[in-house]
Amino acid sequence: MKRSKRSAIDRRQTIDAYVCISPWLIGFLIFTIMPISFTIYYSFTRWTIMEPPVWIGLKNYIFMFTKDPIFWQSLKVTSLYVVMSLPIIIIFGLLLALLLNLKIRGMNLYRTLFYIPAVISGVSVAMLWTWLLQPDVGMVNTLLDLVGIKGPGWFWDPVWALPSVASMSVWKVGGSAVIYLAGLQNIPPQLYEAARIDGAGRRQAFFKITIPLLTPTLFFQLIIQMIECFKVFTEAFVITKGGPLKATYFYLLYFYEEGFQHFNTGYASALILVLVTVIMGMTVFVNYTSKRWVYYAGEDRAS
């Protein structure tokens, strides 16, 4: 008797649960599963949105890897961007967070100010930087001029264009700092007290407590920010259009042009899948190394 009542409640709960999650479930099928499956299928076809797709097997991929210099160029540019931008975000973000974690008055105000560049994004930020880095009348070159340095052509110089786009990350570092800050504030203060009683100095406390306990946050940041870096698009689209000399022709710019301007939709599908594979590979790699350097409290490390 009791048991049947219990299972009736369970059944009721299951029904209600599925009713509740149905919006997400439907969305998941229509806006995630369906498109991803089709992208995979299209990547094996020759297809220009107007005509029906034709199955061509691996030809898109073979062409991409053997006969498409633009693919390699965009992959190279994007990887270089990640290599330049990611350390900035990871390291400067941490330094800024350490500063923001100091206990002085008015810290909330600073925190608010530093986070501003992270909330404004998209085209407006790109426009702002186009103006700041104008070779002739931009603020940065004007300032450099005052101290007697002739500033480079920034976005308009093939050598400087990519570093210029990457350096825009410095300004947005507040976004990553805030995540670190949450990690820092989650470290129990008793640990520092105990260390002090045991005679540990500041530096020791930093390297033996702060850094190890921050590694989970660092790990999270590494993955999230890396994905974000690979997805760089708007900056290049608005400022450089991929130029000069394809120096900032990022992967997603290539994807966009192939897919939505030339309507080479089959090939663009293959392009995006390669990028996703690269991102996934990197994530798995970071995850794999994480066993060595990420410290999780409550885990027995001695074993």
């Binding site: 498109p35 925190r111 939709t265 663009a268 599908s269």
Partner: protein, 297 residues
């Protein structure tokens, strides 16, 4: 700058010499930190201030040499001129309409979905929640081509539907946030309400939602910020100028008047302004929301 000094001086007695040196050291250190912070703050804010200065200048002042840091007199009419050149009000209105419907969508879906994951036991729950989280990591571009061709087939290109519809299925980030939030609420509340005769939905809408206002605020604010800043999707789905969102409009402005930096910066600043205002009102909650995800994701 004198504020920290005041607090520190309290209770100093000249007898305790050692304590005074310690305090002076402390004061110098605090001052040094403030100095660092002000310098960094300057670095973060100076681009925005420079943009404002440019927006208020006359055209010849921009190209003047030696450079003029501030306009001789502020030319606020640059803003009026910028709004006349490109229908910025219209673009803002378009964006606000999209935001309005997206907010409705999120407010409908997110609490409902999150409630099930936070409170119910049901088969498949673990796997499904894992899917919610992992879909956060999938780049939008992976799905864009099939979605585009789907919208072409349904004749929805150049309408706001492609931008609004997904909101009604709940954004994973908000679902996740909401699940964490509901989980912090004591289950006794549910039980008490159940004894009073409320069913599952009654518990959600009468008891939990009123308590979830902070998490819902984050949802609404982020929906606003992200939609306001969104560029790629409007770029792909919208064709006619009069339907453009604010970011598309700004990009078009750049193409048309690329040397009139004062007007361009006036337009750029205007598109940033609503975001900045919203940020200042909601900043505590926003930063908290990001932090939650950072810790538990």
């Amino acid at each position: 700058m004198s504020i920290p000094l005041k607090g520190q001086n309290k209770g100093i007695s000249p007898v305790f010499n050692k304590r005074i040196t310690v305090n002076i050291k402390h004061v110098i250190k605090t001052l040094f930190i403030h100095l660092c912070m002000i310098l960094i703050a300057f670095f973060f804010l100076v681009p925005i201030l420079w943009m404002l200065s440019t927006a208020l200048k006359l055209r010849w002042e921009i190209f003047a040499w030696p450079p003029e840091w501030l306009p001789r007199e502020p030319h606020w009419e640059n803003f009026r001129e910028a709004f006349k050149r490109v229908p910025m009000w219209g673009y803002m209105w378009n964006t606000l309409r999209i935001i309005f419907f997206k907010v409705i969508g999120e407010l409908f879906a997110v609490p409902l979905v999150a409630y099930a994951f936070a409170r119910f036991r049901f088969p498949g729950k673990k796997v499904l929640f894992l899917l919610v989280i992992s879909t956060m990591m999938i780049p939008l571009q992976t799905k864009l081509i099939p979605l585009f061709s789907m919208y072409v087939r349904f004749g929805l290109i150049d309408s706001y539907w492609p931008l609004i519809l997904p909101a009604f299925t709940g954004t994973p980030f908000f679902i996740f946030l909401m699940v964490q939030y509901i989980k912090t609420m004591p289950r006794d509340l549910d039980d008490a309400a159940r004894i009073d005769g409320l069913n599952n939905y009654g518990i959600l809408y009468r008891i939990l939602i009123p308590l979830c206002v902070p998490a819902l605020t984050i949802t609404v604010t982020y929906t606003f910020l992200w939609t306001w800043n969104e560029f790629l999707q409007p770029l792909i789905y919208l064709n006619s100028y009069e339907k453009y969102t604010i970011q598309l409009g700004l990009e078009m402005f750049k193409g048309m008047w690329s040397v009139e930096w004062n007007l361009l910066m006036a337009a750029t600043l205007s598109t940033m302004l609503p975001v900045l205002v919203l940020y200042f009102f909601a900043q505590k909650k926003l930063i908290g929301g990001i932090a939650t995800l950072g810790l538990k994701g």
